[in-house]
Amino acid sequence: MLRATDIRVRIGGKPILQGVDFRAESGQVTAIVGPNGSGKSTLLKAITGEVDSTGGLEINGADIRRRKPWELAAIRGVLPQAAVLSFPFQVGEVVRMGLRAGISASRSRLPEMALAAVGLEGYAGRLYQELSGGEQQRAQLARVLCQVWEPLVDGQPRWLLLDEPVASLDIGHQLVVMQLLRRYAEGGGGVVAVMHDLNLSAMFADRMTVMARGRVTASGAPGEVMTDAVLSATYGCELRVNAAPAGQSFLLPHMAVAP
């Protein structure tokens, strides 16, 4: 289990997170959603230790702040929102960096498998900087996958912590990646993803945490969270949730019709 209790973050004197409680179970995909500036990326960064925070942070029952970087690297991989890379590395070289960070370093075929998993077969020899934005994002995901390839090791779940993993992907690759995350969770691992797309979140997540103005406003199964009242209050505009015949909640953007 991954648990954050009463997380507070101030950046430049401004409170960004004001006492956030968050939990994610292994074996599940947990989506963090909310409007721009609601603090969802900051919550993920607090969990990964990238920003300083106060409050409790636990992963698999251990205090995250007391773990060494390399201990954390063995149990969780992190996909940052902005994928930067200096120097003309090849895609295969980037993915191999993840391999060496994890504990599966002996598995030399893993980079190929990870690239195939994100739909980048045959890209290993390409220059990373010459890929499109969406391809770069998938290459970074392959790197992170390499780091924590097996979702369960010795009965201990491993975690994928992802900031907008599908934000710049086309719809086909969005589905490829979301299905990949589902399989990871079904294999016993934990997935926490900051998401922009409410419909994709509702379709693939087991739980959704909704944030607004540095606080959690709702949390639960997609059906409980995707309601007119919660979303309208969170996003500050009138939103209407529909249900697909299979019972899935979805949202279509619409404009208020002028009287």
């Binding site: 990964t48 060494k68 390399w70 690297a73 940052p80 120097f87 960096m97 960070a101 980079p111």
Partner: protein, 352 residues
């Protein structure tokens, strides 16, 4: 199937090429060493001396002096300086995530320059006990370290060093050290001005075993430290946050990188003055040939930097023989066009 084969072929390609480069560059360095021992103003023949050694004929005093007390320490010093500058360049480019970074960027060169000029101009006023041939290199080395230490302190807050702050503070510090050096130059007399100018141009002419004994251990320690940083610098290419998420001790890597670069550059500048472009051109050429992976890049930079400086030193000795051209002129004349050529050829890739 085709895709899998392509992966299998593409993955080991640059790595094995980089490893083959160790051998090629090692051979190149051996040749450059021979060249450095064989060529010189006095006309003493290395081959003649080797033949005598092989046949048991004793060497003449002149041969011993030229080969053993002039050319040999000079060769070893060129290796130290060239390897040190090239590896510092590679380390700093990795740290600053910028292929145009060079040892000058962390204030090392400016600090060393200020130290050296202080020694030249103010050294005359010191009592004789305190001034000796070691005063200038010592002052340059202390200046290099003082500048880097100051920058590191300025850029570090709560245990985290901001690389961007360090870069910008380096520009300010370089300007300040330049102004102070300017003040000293203004005070200097004609003989001192000449010394300052020649120091700034760089030279290996004063190489002695004593200088080598000071520079070699510092350089060697810095090089050994630097080659352990390959994996960490690769990780930093993904950004500090991603490097940390991959389990790399980011702050330690940054501190060690700065330490290694300051030590190697400080030692090089202290014994040879200002030698430009080795730190930029060598890592750049290697990246073009074998890719940016720092693990093979750092040892390769040491080998190629040493070879290039040996060749530049030979050129500086023969081009205006029996006089000597300062080696900094040679490296700049050779290095600047190469640098421009790299920029123009790969304009897209150095887009900052």
């Amino acid at each position: 199937m085709a895709a899998t084969e392509q992966i299998a072929l593409a993955l080991p390609d640059r790595r094995s090429r980089a490893r083959r480069a160790h051998l090629v560059l090692g051979g190149g360095l051996a040749l450059a060493c021979l060249l450095s021992l064989a060529v010189g103003a006095s006309g003493t023949s290395l081959w003649g001396a080797l033949e005598k050694l092989a046949t048991g004929v004793p060497l003449t005093a002149a041969e011993q002096t030229v080969l053993w007390t002039i050319r040999m320490p000079r060769m070893l010093l060129a290796i130290c300086v060239g390897a040190g500058l090239a590896v510092s360049g590679a380390v700093l480019q990795g740290l600053f995530r910028n292929p145009l970074a060079d040892p000058g960027i962390v204030g090392v060169s400016a600090g060393a320059g200020l130290g050296a000029i202080s020694a030249i101009v103010l050294g005359a006023a010191l009592p004789a006990v305190l001034s000796g041939p070691w005063l200038l290199p010592l002052a340059a080395f202390l200046g290099a370290w003082g500048a880097t230490g100051l920058l590191y302190a300025v850029a570090t807050r709560r245990g985290r060093t901001s690389v961007a702050t360090m870069l910008l503070a380096g520009i300010a510090l370089t300007a300040m050290a330049g102004a102070m050096s300017g003040g000293l130059i203004y005070m200097a007399d004609d003989a001192q001005l000449r010394d300052v100018t020649f120091w700034q141009l760089g030279s290996l002419a004063g190489a002695t075993w004593a200088k080598l004994a000071v520079a070699a251990p510092v350089t060697l320690a810095a090089l050994l430290l630097a080659v352990t940083l390959g994996r960490g610098l690769n990780g930093l290419a993904l950004g500090e946050a991603a490097a940390g998420h991959m389990g790399l001790p980011v702050q330690r890597i940054k501190a060690l990188a700065i330490l290694a670069a300051a030590a190697a550059t400080g030692a090089a500048v202290a014994v040879s003055g200002g030698i430009a472009f080795v730190g930029i051109v060598v890592p750049h050429l290697l990246r073009l040939a074998t890719g940016p992976d720092h693990e093979p890049l750092l040892p390769n930079a040491a080998l190629l930097g040493a070879s290039l400086l040996l060749v530049a030193d030979v050129i500086s000795r023969v081009i205006v023989a029996p006089a000597e051209l300062p080696i900094g002129i040679v490296t700049a004349i050779l290095g600047a066009p190469v640098f421009l050529w790299i920029l123009l050829r790969r304009r897209g890739l150095v887009d900052l």
